[in-house]
Symmetry: C2
Subunit: 149 residues, 2 copies
């Protein structure tokens, strides 16, 4: 059992795609994150789902969430206005210590170790220097490790 056997087709998103497209992909497919790719389809990062919220929430609310209680306008409006004109590239954390990527030949335990180390419930599968061929979620990995799938 290798990474290529566990991987499933997984939505990717371009660095210059709009934030709103990322949010819609996440919401529509119940995904733990998105694989961000460059123009050649190579993995650049895994975007955690919670990261899409950071841009669209006013800074003072991020620091003290109870202040958000004071805002009585519909949250959808706040979200859409915050996302407008922003790209996925702006959502990525500044310090990128290498994205969670495994090669197709990686063992199940290796995939688990990468997830644990990067604290990412999603890893991309790609050969070195090549385009993404799929993704592995924590859920799929646990199913395999626990023998429930």
């Amino acid at each position: 059992m290798r990474a290529k056997d566990l991987a499933v087709p997984f939505p990717t998103i371009a660095l210059d795609a709009p934030v709103l497209e990322a949010a819609r992909l996440l919401a529509g497919h119940n995904l733990p994150g998105l694989i961000v790719v460059d123009a050649a389809g190579r993995p650049v990062a895994v975007l955690p789902g919670t990261q899409v919220l950071r841009l669209v929430i006013p800074g003072y609310c991020r620091e003290d969430p109870t202040l958000a209680r004071m805002i009585d306008e519909p949250s959808a409006d706040v979200f859409l206005r915050g996302a407008e004109g922003r790209s996925v590239a702006e959502l990525l954390p500044r310090e990128q210590p290498g994205p969670p990527v495994v090669e197709p030949q990686a063992t199940v335990l290796e995939v688990a170790a990468v997830m644990a180390q990067k604290r990412s419930p999603l890893v991309a599968v790609a050969a070195r220097g090549a385009a993404v061929t799929g993704g592995i979620t924590l859920d799929a990995l646990l199913d395999r490790m626990l023998g429930t799938a």
Copy 2:
């Protein structure tokens, strides 16, 4: 629209529950994490899904995942042996800066701000000092903010 309207019944797990029970809950329900509760059902922490992997992976593999490629025994055996006799309490990060919890009256934007601040795709809903009444996932929140639900 308040947190209590967004919250759905969500599995909780006790601090002294076995790690294997946590892993099975996560895998069986495709959850982004688990709400950890004390004996009175009050929220203590939210356990990110990836955290269950940390205990069961040998330390040298966590630091250098490529070393995991050398282990040729079935990964299920490694997992089960690593989880044996361990409790959920051992999985929680040492530094707990307060769990992602909102009160039932919290606004949607407040829930979003807590998720963003704690980088947690799951928040527990509980009145101050009371038991957990439900959970809100990032997925459900995005559906609401984007108007797709």
